[in-house]
């Protein structure tokens, strides 16, 4: 097939490593597929209402498909329905949407939290205090993860949350919060973070506090620390930003008439721990010091993305 | 008199922290009376007016209106009680047009228009924004707005201070009419000539206390001054010889030489010289181009034609700093234009020292302190409330604007009505100061709205009318009558009488 399609992209968080990787994956995949003539990307910080605006602008621009990372599963339903009505293929990535006509390829956030938390509580020997460092209050990804975390917590009745706090997914906040908490002298046996992880390791080492098991995401910085920091036990749960690339692939498949069996495809997270040999090997191979520490290292998803590392790092779409 | 006072205040006190603005003031006004409220700068006159009209709350005191005790809580409340003030500062809302300003205060438009015409402003556009109206006209509008609601008592705080003679005269006429029609007026002014022209009685304040109530009769001025100042102050012609004495050694070039100066449509064609060691007076009715003249000479506005030479060299000012670099300083009439209200007296006076880029570095605090102290001393500034200039009384604020340039040792000072709102003693001091400056070889261009000042301080008077110099009068013939005639553009020998102020100089009741 020649380069024929125009794909619209809508994303509502800017300046965050994960989202930037997602955008680059979309561009790289569009380029690698050879089927996309033009990308039309709306990428800025806004809310669901702002995303409605962006989506409608994309509809006005008459794109063939829209890949959207929804600000909220329900909040953009109206515009997605309008898009479908206009004959546009809609693929939601990262989070689900409630609009039934849209396709979804998503990371399983509930599972993400459950997997990490369960591992952590096992490492703690099924008892003790855990520090629970959440994301941004009021964000839907945060409340999904909270469900997973709580589910794991139920399985370990002797694990207590000694400190629960919202980092707002901000490095500086998280660091000050953990340092403040350390200063209180309250004992704790493990830390679960919602992906703001490397500053927590830094804080522990800088304040010469005994290292406890830490769960984070597969961000380049944290993966590096898992490999290098002496005495650090921890696990990275994958939450690939490259899901964006997968979204493009799905959209192109549908445009080419190859509809998937289900509307929803979930990408299951996996957990890389540095306490087993297998896990260590995974971490070693995944580590990539050349990436920005905020970027997830899982820069590709087998079967879904076809670009090379150079392509995603170059972050260039068709026509650039 | 057996009538009961319409307004009777006793034992009024008000303190701002350590500063007692009023200690024990009283004031009793009869119906139909024009009552002068007098006192030196900072005596507490404005404070009393503000208390009577609810703009501020007194700490103590008893206020009776028509015999009934009344707690006036706000200006709106005072208005309902029949007390309408015109404060020392304009009270129109700058961003509203005049009609809206009237609506805001519930003032009927037609009577207002009539009063404005009566007060000598025939061509007012009521759709103008208040901020575009010149200060003197604003004062008139403030007064017309007060008159239009027909109050029982009208309080005028230095109403005439910013007015040129022609407008001041109309105000006095109007005030007289008011008292004839049975209304009372409380009138604050530092000009004895106005007081004697129309007031019935005067209450004198000193340091926040009422020190006397006198009937205005010919010759009472000395007594009032004595009450005000607590001691006798002799009033003499300060002028001594002037340029004719000092100017015998003519410099090769005049200090400032203006030729065919034009600014927009207001200033048409003005030429004159200002020499070292002289005080040249400028006399003009309101709006004859004097603001533009001073603005152009100080670099604040750009002339549209003509030349300015300083010490024989042609100059073009694009910013006041250019003029200041050549030693030319400007003291505008409206002190709010030049004061840093939230800063201390010291910082206000020292401001020009830091102005230029090369003086942005560390300040020599010791030197500054002595320089500033000397300037304060020289102008006798009452610095009890010196931490913020906004807390000084109006007159003392006025002095700070001059002190700044005395401290900076400017060679030429352009003074625009500097004695506006200044008490008699300070006026004398300022006259003396200006003469001293001249004696030291400095030069002063002096615009005044009080014509009698010309003979006190100036070496000659440049009269401007319609944007042109119409006459230059030597001091000996520049009496008020001659100046008034000239400022209406009448030739020097015409003999019509122009209004009461011109006539007043012939009456023995004059303040000399």
């Amino acid at each position: 097939a020649g380069k024929t399609y125009t794909i619209g992209v809508s994303n509502t968080v800017q300046g965050n490593g994960w989202r930037e990787e997602m955008i680059c994956a979309i561009k790289a995949q569009a380029l690698a597929s050879g089927e996309v003539a033009k990308l039309n990307i709306a990428h800025r910080n806004t809310d669901a209402a702002g995303q409605l605006e962006d989506l409608r602008n994309l509809i006005s621009a008459k794109v063939d498909a829209i890949v959207v990372n929804p600000a909220d599963p329900a909040g953009i339903k109206a515009a997605l329905a309008e898009a479908t009505k206009a004959g546009i293929v809609v693929v939601a990535v990262d989070q689900a949407v409630t609009e039934p006509s849209a396709y979804i390829i998503s990371n399983n956030q509930e599972k993400y939290a459950y997997l990490g938390a369960k591992w952590l509580f096992q490492q703690m020997g099924g008892k003790g205090g855990v520090v629970y460092m959440r994301g941004a209050a009021g964000a839907s990804a945060d409340s999904d993860r909270d469900k997973g975390f709580k589910e794991a917590l139920k399985e370990f009745p002797d694990v207590k949350v000694v400190h629960e706090v919202f980092t707002g997914w901000q490095q500086d906040q998280a660091k000050q919060q953990i340092l403040d908490f350390i200063a209180t002298g309250t004992p704790f046996n493990g830390i679960w973070t919602s992906g703001i992880d490397n500053v927590i390791v830094d804080a522990l080492t800088e304040s010469q506090t005994a290292l406890v098991p830490i769960v984070g995401a597969d961000n380049a910085g944290f993966v590096g620390q898992l490999n290098k920091v002496e005495g650090l036990k921890g696990a990275a749960v994958t939450n690939p930003g490259s899901i964006g690339g997968a979204g493009v692939t799905l959209a192109l498949q549908i445009l080419d008439g190859k509809k998937p069996a289900q509307q929803t495809v979930l990408v299951e997270p996996s957990l890389w721990q540095n306490v087993t040999d297998a896990g260590k090997a995974q971490l070693k191979s995944a580590a990539d010091p050349s990436l920005s520490p905020e970027w997830p290292v899982s820069i590709s998803i087998p079967n879904w993305t076809t670009y090379t590392k150079d392509q995603i790092v170059a972050c260039k779409g068709p026509g650039e | 008199m057996t009538t009961n006072p319409i307004l009777d205040a006793t034992g009024v006190a008000k303190s701002y922290g350590a500063v007692a603005a009023l200690r024990n003031a009283s004031l009793s006004v009869l119906p139909g009376e024009v009552h002068a409220l007098m006192g030196a700068n900072g005596a507490g006159k404005s404070t009393l007016v503000k208390i009577l009209t609810g703009a501020i709350r007194a700490d103590k005191g008893d206020i009776r209106i028509r015999g009934q005790a009344r707690d006036v809580r706000s200006p709106a409340d005072a208005r309902r009680a029949g007390l309408v003030p015109v404060y020392q500062e304009p009270s129109l809302i700058p961003d509203l047009d005049i009609v809206s300003n009237l609506r805001l205060t519930g003032t009927p438009l037609e009577p207002f228009r009539a009063w404005v015409r009566e007060l000598g402003v025939p061509d007012l556009d009521v759709n103008d924004m208040a901020r575009d109206v010149p200060l003197a006209i604003l004062r008139v509008l403030d007064l017309a707005r007060a008159l239009a609601v027909e109050p029982d008592v009208i309080l005028l705080d230095e109403m005439t201070a910013a007015l040129p003679a022609n407008l001041a005269e109309r105000v006095i006429d109007v005030v007289r009419q008011q008292s004839k029609s049975g209304r009372s007026v409380i009138f604050i002014s530092h000009r004895f000539i106005e007081i004697s022209a129309m007031c019935d009685r005067a209450t004198v304040l000193r340091d926040g206390e009422t020190v006397g109530v006198v009937d205005i009769v010919p010759g009472i001025e000395e007594k009032i001054v004595e009450l005000m100042l607590g001691a006798r102050v002799e009033k003499t012609y300060t002028k001594s010889g002037g340029a004719s004495a000092a100017g015998t050694v003519e410099a090769t070039h005049p200090r400032l030489s203006v030729r065919n100066l034009r600014v927009g449509t207001k200033l048409q064609d003005v030429s004159f010289d200002l020499r070292d060691s002289e005080v040249a007076g400028v006399v003009a009715l309101e709006g004859q181009g004097q603001d533009e003249l001073f603005g152009a000479l100080s670099g604040a506005i750009r002339p549209s034609g003509g030349t300015i030479e300083v010490d024989g060299k042609a100059v073009q000012f694009s910013h006041p700093t250019d003029a200041i670099d050549l030693g030319i300083a400007y003291v505008p009439g409206d002190r709010t234009e030049v004061l840093l209200m939230q800063q201390s007296v010291r910082e206000n006076i020292a401001l020009p020292f830091s102005a230029r880029l090369r003086n942005w570095g560390p300040i020599n605090m010791g030197r500054e302190r002595t320089t500033v102290a000397r300037a304060i001393e020289r102008l006798q500034i009452d610095t009890r409330a010196q931490r913020e200039v906004q807390r000084l009384s109006g007159g003392n604020q006025q002095k700070v604007t001059i002190a700044r340039w005395i401290a900076a040792d400017a060679r030429t000072i352009l003074c625009f009505d500097p004695t506006r709102g200044i008490d008699v003693r300070t006026k004398q001091e300022i006259y003396r100061l200006l003469r001293e400056l001249a004696a030291q070889g400095k030069s002063v261009l002096y615009y005044t709205s009080e014509l009698e000042e010309v003979q006190r301080v100036c070496d000659r008077a440049i009269v401007i009318f319609g944007g042109r110099v119409v006459d230059v009068l030597p001091t000996d013939i520049a009496d008020e009558a001659a100046l008034t005639r000239a400022s209406y553009g009448l030739p020097r020998h015409a003999q019509e009488d122009i209004g009461i102020l011109a006539g007043a100089s012939n009456t023995p009741a004059g303040a000399r």
Partner: protein
């Protein structure tokens, strides 16, 4: 007429700019039509109300940093109350939420007047308080909106007797916007209260001396701001069908549009039409950037530049006007 144009020069200029942008849009996307205009209007709605809320307090000499939080709180409250409730119940919810907005706005004003803390600090504090309250109502996006409420901004007004071609260009959202703003603003602007709001913004001292009850007027201005904020919050719920406790980007956008609209920060000058037109301009620029498929990172640069250049141009023209 000339006087009108001169007096309203800035707003006239904005209208011209807007018309120009429509032409450009039509050139970029020849298919740009009535439906797309409807989308524009819906995008404008929350911004327009945020800007209206900001405008009124700025005219009164204040600034309201809590607009976006106010919108978030009223939006979640509405969505929370309508969740699972009947369609008729929403008839009750709407006035309640509007009242709540006005009340919280008045609280802003009262705090400013009573504590004498500057507006910017009080409303900054309220930004946190309202945000916190929104999180207490709903800790993540959720809730629902009544169908009739959502329908209010969908589709066009059918005025009988007017050809469909014109009707198509009259989206319901526009009517809603004009009615909601007009109902409040027009009578206000003509009333003594409206004058007082301008007066306290221009010079609180002179206003007080002119007999304006400054404290009360300020409180009322903030109450109106809260009311507009609540309308904005409701439009958020209407368009998304949910409530989100995290405030959207309405604070800075509202301040920017207020200034672009010719309202002077500091108070006393300006009107509501300018800021609303400015909102349309800003939204249309965003549309054009999307239509042009400009690199998303460059769009921030473009938006920033437009803001600075337009205001600089205005300032430059004003300077020229003053000297000539």
């Amino acid at each position: 007429m000339i006087r009108f144009v001169r007096k309203n020069g800035w707003v006239t200029g904005l209208f011209v700019l807007l018309a120009l942008l429509f032409v450009i849009t039509k050139i970029i996307q020849p298919g740009y039509g009535a439906g797309d205009f409807g989308s524009l209007v819906r995008a404008v709605l929350p911004f327009a109300f945020a800007v209206a809320a900001q405008t009124i307090v700025v005219i009164a000499g204040g600034i309201d940093l809590s607009v976006a939080s106010m919108m978030a709180l009223t939006s979640v409250t509405a969505a929370y109350m309508m969740n699972g409730a009947s369609e008729e119940f929403a008839l009750l919810v709407v006035p309640m939420v509007l009242l709540m907005g006005a009340g919280l706005g008045a609280l802003n004003g009262i705090l400013i007047v009573v504590t004498r803390v500057p507006d910017i600090v009080v409303t900054l504090s309220m930004l946190f308080v309202l945000q916190g309250a929104a999180l207490l109502v709903l800790d993540s996006p959720g809730g629902a909106a009544a169908e009739w409420l959502k329908e209010l901004i969908v589709g066009t007004i059918q005025i009988p007797g007017i050809p469909d071609a014109i009707n198509a260009w009259l989206p319901k959202g526009l009517l809603l916007l004009l009615v909601c703003l007009g109902i409040v603003w027009i009578p206000l602007r003509r009333s003594w209260l409206g004058l007082s709001i301008y007066a306290i913004g221009s010079s609180p001292l002179a206003a007080f001396r002119s007999g304006v009850p400054v404290a009360r007027t300020k409180t009322i201005a903030y109450a109106f701001s809260g009311l507009f904020g609540a309308m904005g919050g409701l439009t958020l719920t209407m368009s998304t069908g949910i409530g989100a406790p995290i405030p959207g980007p309405y604070l800075l956008a509202s301040v920017a549009a207020v200034v672009l609209g010719g309202v002077v920060l500091g108070g006393g000058r300006g009107g509501l039409v300018g800021p609303i037109v400015a909102v349309f301009v800003l939204r249309l620029v965003r549309t054009d950037l999307t239509l042009l498929a400009i690199d998303p990172n460059v769009t921030a640069i473009v938006e920033g530049t437009i803001m600075v250049v337009v205001v600089m141009l205005g300032a430059y023209l004003a300077m020229r006007g003053r000297t000539s």
